[in-house]
């Protein structure tokens, strides 16, 4: 297991959003986390990343506990985060955004070629101010920025949010290619079921701060009622 969570609890103030999450993410696989709004998907991502403290339980990455570390330490262990809303540095150029993804890493100051191989548009737009690009291009930049640090694992929070359907398909295809080619482990939070079935190997369902079921994506493709049961579609 690349990432293993055991009975992780976390939340904001007095209210616990995660009430004991136990989840395994296999190396080299895309694992999707599905659930309705407010079930704790983003909270889980933020807790893994160290932005929120885990109040209980263990988060292990490659066998070593990472809960309690700062976000920059977790990032430098090899986990990259593409947050909901992308959080691009709007006033910076594309190149500066990508460079920021490398600064804490041994290859600081060098953007690896794989970023431009998968997202050629970022190469063409190096000098453009990031805030002037379209939503889809900004999402590619957010993913490219994460890849620039050569991570072992990618946390993707709602990559299809606010992007036109045709671009979503393209981004999904690119992400799949990246996962295959770079042997990247991905934990994907996504509302777009088509994108999930297209990319994921395994799907975990979260409800009220707990993982209630885990299925192979193949099983879900064969029987769509399973998805509907958990998502209430």
């Amino acid at each position: 297991m690349m990432l293993a969570l055991d009975d992780v609890r976390s939340g904001y103030g007095d209210s616990m959003v995660l009430k004991g999450v136990t989840l395994s993410v296999a190396a080299g696989q895309v694992t999707a986390l599905l659930g309705r709004n407010g079930m704790g998907k983003s909270t889980l991502m933020r807790t893994i990343m160290g932005l929120l403290p885990a109040r209980h339980g263990v988060i292990a990455f490659n066998g070593a506990a990472i809960n309690g570390l700062r976000p920059d330490q977790i990032s430098n262990r090899g986990i990259a985060f593409v947050p909901q809303g992308r959080e691009i540095f709007m006033d910076f150029t594309v190149e500066e955004n990508l460079l920021l993804g490398t600064l804490g890493k041994p290859t600081a100051g060098y953007i690896p070629n794989l970023v431009f191989e998968h997202f050629p548009i970022l190469d063409e737009r190096r000098r453009q101010i990031a805030g002037t690009m379209s939503g889809g291009q900004q999402q590619q930049l957010a993913i490219g920025r994460a890849l620039a640090g050569r991570p072992k694992m990618l946390l993707l929070d709602e990559p299809s949010e606010g992007i036109q359907p045709s671009i979503v398909e393209q981004i999904a295809a690119t992400l799949k290619a990246i996962a295959d080619k770079e042997k990247l482990t991905i934990l994907l939070v996504e509302q777009n079921v088509e994108m999930v079935l297209d990319m994921a190997g395994a799907c975990a369902f979260i409800e009220n701060g707990r993982i209630v079921a885990t299925h192979e994506a193949n099983a879900l493709r064969a029987d769509e009622r399973l998805i509907h049961r958990y998502l209430g579609l």
């Binding site: 932005l51 920059d72 990032s75 540095f89 709007m90 460079l99 804490g104 920025r145």
Partner: protein, 284 residues
């Protein structure tokens, strides 16, 4: 003609001195969201570093070199011992740095007494500029200020440290998620801002009476410059030239008291019309 030239040079001189003080404040506020009320006392420590070096028989130039080093180290210590514990509580940072300012001032009074010192100035000659004679040391101050401005711009816009710092200013938690050690950056930034204040104190010392109250005289115009300019490097440059220009012109032609009144009236007017300063940045 001579008068206009001298007025202009005096205005430029004072403006650049304000920039020297304000720059450290702006950098610390931009990165850490800390309003450093002790900045004037770091300026004071820079001047007294020079006093101590001269009393010990060292020359002016050694003192000028040591002042930013010593005050930078003081900044490092303050950040580690006090500031980092109150980062996330904005009002507490004002209270804490205000407390530090009182403590430093009293420590200087205990060590050196409340009286004022004078510092031997180097470069005691005039230089002919377009027919007027202007003190060489004042030109030297301007040169130092311009150098510091250029150096700061270079650091912030041309180096990895600067890129990381701008990233943290724009979005601290995202910068951390990308692997940037924000702790180390905060420490370095506070020390850098403190060192700038120390350098300003030492370089200005030969021009003024060096006493425990001297910090305030530069802190207030520096704050006014930041407020009217709207923060940021360019805003601070604009604000400082406004405050410095008005103050030195009115002080020379009429009186220093009137100059203060006009500067404050200008600041109130600017803030009334542009609440976020003349060059306010969107979405701070």
């Amino acid at each position: 003609m001579d008068l206009i030239l001298t007025l202009g040079l005096d205005a430029l001189n004072f403006s650049l001195a304000i920039v020297l003080v304000a720059m450290g404040l702006v950098i610390i506020f931009g990165l850490m969201n800390v309003i450093n009320m002790a900045h004037g006392e770091l300026f004071l420590l820079g001047a007294f570093t020079l006093v101590v070096v001269q009393q010990a028989g060292g020359g002016f130039w050694l003192g000028l070199f040591l002042a930013p080093v010593v005050v930078g180290l003081v900044g490092l210590l303050l950040e580690e011992l006090i500031i980092r514990h109150v980062y996330r509580r904005f009002l507490d940072t004002i209270l804490a740095t205000w407390g530090i300012s009182i403590a430093i001032k009293q420590a200087v009074i205990l060590g050196f007494g409340p009286a004022s010192y004078t510092v031997d100035a180097p470069l005691q000659f005039g230089i002919d500029l377009f027919g007027a004679t202007y003190p060489a040391y004042r030109l030297f101050i301007m040169g130092v200020a311009v150098l510091v401005i250029l150096l700061t711009m270079f650091v912030f816009f041309r180096t990895r440290f600067g890129l990381a710092a701008r990233g943290v200013i724009a979005n601290r938690s995202m910068a951390a998620c990308l692997g940037i050690n924000t702790r180390r950056l905060d420490r370095a930034t506070f020390a850098f801002g403190a060192a700038l204040a120390g350098l300003a104190g030492a370089v200005m010392a030969p021009q003024m009476s060096v006493d425990p109250q001297m910090g305030l005289g530069f802190l207030i115009p520096a704050f006014l410059a930041i407020l009217t300019g709207g923060g940021g490097l360019t805003g601070t440059l604009l604000g400082a030239s406004l405050v410095g220009g008005i103050d030195s012109t009115f002080a020379k032609l009429w009186s220093p008291v009137l100059a203060q009144v006009v500067v404050f009236a200008m600041a109130i007017l600017v803030i009334r019309i542009f609440p976020n300063g003349l060059l306010a940045r969107r979405g701070r």
